[in-house]
Amino acid sequence: MSIHGDPTTAVLPASSDVIVSVRGLSVEYAAGRGLAALRGHRRFTVLDDVSLEIGRGEVVGLAGESGSGKSTLANVLVGLAPASGGQVSIGGREIVELPASGWRELRRRVQLIYQDPFDSLNPRFSVFRAVAEPLLAQGGSSRERIGEAVHEALRRAELPPAEYVHRYPSQLSGGERQRVSIARALVLDPEVIVADEPVSMLDVTTGHQIVRLLRRLADEQGVSILLIGHDLGVLGQCCDRIGIMYLGRLVEVGPADRVLEEPRHPYTAALLAAIPSADPEMRRQRVELPGEPPSPTHRPLGCPFHPRCPRADVFCTENNPQLQATGTGQAAACWHPLDASDLP
């Protein structure tokens, strides 16, 4: 994504040590079924010209509604979705059009944590087997080496190995299962962990602990983390920077506190306003964001947010805005960004 206006650091990490680099990434899928899909006459765009970098030990959050493309971006980073255009590199290694043999090596560098800790662990595998699986798939490790690596990974995920290696998923709580998933991701000692909604199925206090664990992995062990979630409160707790996605585009990105406290994009503001308040004496206004969440199969022309945007005018219906520095540390893709006077 080209950045207009002042050079901005919003899409760049604070450190100069870039581990993940995404430049102008687009992903398209063929519409229809069977032969019609193969011919690919009708295609729809799920990611449109997205650029983002993640530094060593940095936690970057991505938020947005279902269908906004955040999971697609995660899937591209781990090789589960094909890129249609743009460049993506992990640790300096280009991954677009990487052959399967290249992915085997790259899996050591980037690992995924799934949303549902109840579905993502094989119920017939003990914790030991689940955590050892990536090493077994990679091959070439001795029995002793695997045993050591599994214990080390469980310790990093803050599960005492002796207590857990022989247990099965059915004997674990949701939080413990998610820690096993994290240990499984850590066993290959990756530089990057992509966590797709890792706490959305967990209780508040358990989710809180998992998020703190991810933060510590970044701070103390230099793991770079892409944390995908729809709960801006959770992302705000843990992320250095936050990106907001809407219909396949990154519409706002910047330091977490800037984005959450002084949003510039009207969509970010709407997301923040939709969070219910636990203070019964503070009645908030229900957000007026008309319409259904958008579908990538029916992308509007111009700014993708204009059909639901309270600030949209005719210009917005025809021209798609690029990310622009807002002068407050973040960047927003909006023709009529909010300013300080619009904030409550």
């Binding site: 701070d219 219910p276 636990a278 019964p280 259904e292």
Partner: protein, 276 residues
Amino acid sequence: MTAVTSVPPLLTVQDLTVDFGSPARSVRAVDGVSFDLRPGETVGLIGESGSGKSTIVRAVLRLLPEGTRVTGQIRFGDVALLEASEKMLRPMRWKAMAFVPQSAMNSLDPVRQVGRQIVDVIRAHEKVSSRDAWERARVALASVGIDPSRATDYPHQFSGGMRQRALIAMSTILKPKLLIADEPTTGLDVVVQDQVLGELQRVCREQTIATIFVTHDLGVAAEMCTHLVVMCRGVAVESGRVEDVLVRPQHSYTQALLHSTRARLVSEKPRQGDPR
């Protein structure tokens, strides 16, 4: 609840205790919980997983598995629910008390049109023509913001929010006195959650439906409920009017829950070496 009012309670739960498992190795899921619910009130059952909130709901709906030992009393109007026969309960379900479950995808029949499923509910309880029932189904869908022309769609053609709204339409179509919503917005995006909660609140107010609202989200509870019962490990540790419980929590568990929720909203970033 403690509020002094002349209106008799619609639902009284008294000293409800639920034990799962064999008598030798039983697990107490709910331990001596009591609360009242009057027409127009919404009582929120809040707490984390395993605290017993869904078990209370299943006890009220009489959906607990066979062999579960339930003691105490649940009175719904004149009916003692725990003693009622299945024959007595059947006409009450949907008609007198309805249920909005957690996962809309799993609770709609995937091979039956959404409108048809609402028609089924109507015609199971009322002698009306198919045409009239379809018309009512369309009106009900329109009232929760779904285009009536989508009534002949199948569940997979609906978005998650639309499915959950369709369930709200279905569960309120027979104008029940009691609606039980078990985490009705889990898994929905925050903007869609806001819309679904708005619909639920509006429908319940218009029809003065009493609601039991199960949630782990204190923010949602604060907005939806008039009263709260805070559950921790099967015990109701605190209950009362929503303003009292959330503004002046007495129990340390409520205070802890509230603290973690507030901490979330002000986005406190943990620093390096932060204790767990």
